[in-house]
Amino acid sequence: MTAVSRWWARNKVALFFLSPWLAGMIMLSLVPMVVSLYLSFTNYNLFEPPRWIGLTNYTNMFLYDTRYLKALQVTFVYVFVAVPLQLLLALALALFLNRGMFALEWFRGIFYIPSLLGPSVAIALLWRKVFGNDGIFNVVVAPLGIQPRSWIGDPDTALMTLIVLHVWQFGSPMVIFLAGLKQIPKEFYEAAAIDGAGRIGTLFRITLPLLTPIIFFNLIMQIINAFQAFTSAFIIGGSDGGVLDSMLFYTLYLFINGFNNFQMGYASAMAWVLLLIIGFFTALFFATSKRWVYYES
């Protein structure tokens, strides 16, 4: 028997059962991806056949398209401000809830709700109301002596409103942190207590090091997530990227190019660059993880 036929004999049943998903993966993911890679080297306006133009889309992107560079800038600020803030908040609340308290399940549920609602259009619309010219945020900050203004209409603060919306959805990383905290063996804390370690010492010497695999997981997932954020900017900023393009997320600009400007080739090229960017940061975190992520074994 050859290796192939042996492999086939061994796996045919599994393949049969997997076939609907394999077919889905190949036809709905793999083929479109390959096509999009091809389109990224063409000028394709949806209606006429694609025209091969080599690397022109890629060079235009970085050399001439100032809006593209702006979109990159906005997205980077968003990802590297919103994600750490969100994880810090999630971790702080998880630590707090983990100490055990009255009606813990209820609070856990309540804190999780924003994660369910966050990516929805309704919340994005609500955000417009909260941070608008006549929004309640102005009422809240008025006692601090801050002049009422349109936080969404001001290019300096518009992105901040989206970051706040992202941070607000701390529920799902929080739940994962909570699960991680429960896994840390009690013995470590007992030993620490016997050795006379304080609360801060225990946190930094025991809890956080043992939680690093979870922190690592959350970090990767949230960064991938944040790079692909779309809905909030689309609804809050309007489909044109908001005031002075201050809410022009990468995916939003990609959408504008593909579906408003009919430049599918350019949009495909942008999608592939985004894939490379996300891949780069994921690889980077994996590479550094050996230095700061501790696995118990």
Partner: protein, 490 residues
């Protein structure tokens, strides 16, 4: 050894691995067991195949119906029978698409239901979305070869784009054959559907840019709506006078740098266009743009039009949240047919006036007719039936009365006449303004492909000025650099 290998391929049953003796009877027993195992496995494989087959059939069925249902096509054995059947009463399913909100959908549904009643053999599937999403969806449908049979088309903004890609059916043959009856039509409105010499859209109604005024707010500060059309200087003066009497936080008007038809109107008054007809070159000069930006920038600096951040926040808001409804401005730049929509959300009486005229321009007026038309995609499968519905929709008095100039002034003069007593007073005023504008504005020019991107850049650099991030001169230079990039990379 032999036994070992023989079993190794058999998914390593632990019982088999455990036994490495060479007792013949024992081996025989094992062989029997493993044969049974093989039979079992064969059975299992068959069961698996059967289950798979069932699943495939089920999913194929559901995805089949899901596919056509989702795409909104229909009538299983439709297509060829309907179009080639020479007026017989065979069932036809037409897909009709338009843009608009819920209340507009009600109007369309009422009209289309009436058509279904009168033509029992026609079933109409309806597809609707708001303006922005509508064109996203349409583009994918047209590109995918699966467009609706009858589509709403904003001729001014998108007609050039769709015609240049060869996606729309020219309607002249149907007009010549009388299938589309245009005998009672206002020629100017019929012309609004012409691109590159052929008619591609039959108007459901035309509108154009205008200024809506809160009449009550004006009378409270002792001012009146101007009787005649103002020129640009008079208009600025008018706004400044309003502003001087308004309380803090209320503005005379909206920033014209963020209104997509303002620059179009401005350059048309100078006898030019946004783009050359083929969409390859910019149709106006840096000086044109500089004057335009300067005009509005002065108004911003004097606090007469909304400051940049308020403009930005309210720019893309629906009518119920608009500046004039919220009482933040005394006037608003809008399209004529929409003026009446604001009255649904406010009690103050409104009025409309024309966009300012340019005394020393090539043309005094610059308004471009915005025709919301019906078009028929080239690869529609039911063109004949789609044409019949189109013709009825735009020419039938009853249908016209239900539609009630929803998208502006209808092209058929008899329908116009029938509407006289039914129309909203703001629409009546609109009729007058249009008659006036048709005397001093250049003929309609459908925008060349690429203009949506040019407008987008025009907005962005206007915003840079409004926020004080760029001087007018800097913004003009940057805008032209961006225009060139856009045209080069198309």
């Amino acid at each position: 050894m032999n036994v070992w290998r023989w079993y190794a391929s058999d998914d390593g049953d632990p019982a088999v691995f455990a036994c490495d003796c060479d007792n013949v009877t024992k081996r025989a027993a094992e062989i029997r067991i493993s044969q049974e195992g093989n039979e079992m496995q064969a059975k299992r494989t068959w069961t698996a195949l059967l289950v798979m087959a069932v699943i495939f059939v089920l999913t194929a069925c559901s995805s089949g119906s899901g596919g056509s249902g989702g795409a909104g096509t229909s009538s299983p054995s439709d297509g060829p029978a309907s179009s080639s059947s020479g007026g017989s009463q065979q069932q036809v399913t037409l897909r009709v698409a338009w843009w608009g909100n819920e209340s507009r959908a009600k109007i369309y549904n009422e009209i289309l239901d009436l058509y279904e009643q009168q033509n029992p053999h026609v079933k109409i599937l309806r597809e609707t979305a708001n303006y922005g999403d509508y064109y996203t969806k349409l583009a994918t449908q047209v590109a995918g070869g699966n467009p609706p049979d009858l589509i709403g088309m904003h001729m001014l903004n998108y007609g050039g784009e769709y015609v240049s890609k060869g996606t729309l059916e020219p309607l002249d043959p149907y007009i010549e054959s009388g299938a589309i009856d245009t005998t009672d039509w206002d020629p100017a409105i019929l012309e609004s559907g012409r691109v590159d010499g052929k008619i591609y859209g039959i108007s459901k109604g035309v509108t154009f840019t205008a200024i809506v005024i809160n009449k009550k707010m004006l009378s409270e500060i002792g001012m009146a709506v101007p009787e005649r059309t103002l020129n640009y200087e008079e208009f600025a003066q008018f706004l400044r006078e309003i502003q001087s009497k308004l309380p803090e936080g209320v503005y005379a008007s909206f920033d014209g740098m963020q209104w997509e038809h303002s620059i179009d109107t401005w350059v048309r008054q100078k006898g030019k266009n946004l783009l050359s007809p083929d969409g390859k070159e910019i149709g106006f000069t840096k000086d044109d743009l500089r004057e335009f930006y300067q005009y509005w920038y002065d108004l911003i600096q004097d606090g007469v039009v909304t400051p940049a951040s308020i403009t930005a926040e309210y720019k893309s808001q629906p009518q119920e949240n608009s500046l004039i409804v919220k009482g933040i401005t005394a006037t608003l730049i809008t399209n004529l047919n929409q003026a009446k929509i604001y009255t649904n959300y406010m009690s103050d009486e409104l009025d409309v006036i024309r966009w300012p005229i340019m005394e020393n321009g090539v043309y005094k007026g610059g308004e471009n007719l915005q025709s919301s038309a019906w078009s028929i995609p080239k690869n529609s499968k039911n063109k004949e039936e789609a044409v019949k519905l189109l013709n009825w929709f735009v020419n039938d008095i009853e249908a016209g009365k239900i539609f009630k100039a929803e998208l502006g002034i209808p092209g058929n003069l008899k329908v116009q006449e029938a509407l006289k007593d039914l129309l909203h007073p703001l629409d009546v005023k609109g009729f007058q303004l249009m008659a006036e504008a048709s005397k001093d504005a250049p003929p309609v020019a459908v925008r060349a492909p690429g203009s949506p991107q040019i407008i987008e850049a025009f907005f962005n650099f206007g915003q840079q000025i409004a926020f004080g991030r760029m001087s007018v001169d800097e913004a003009v230079d940057a805008a032209f650099a961006e225009f060139e990039r856009i045209l080069r990379t198309r």
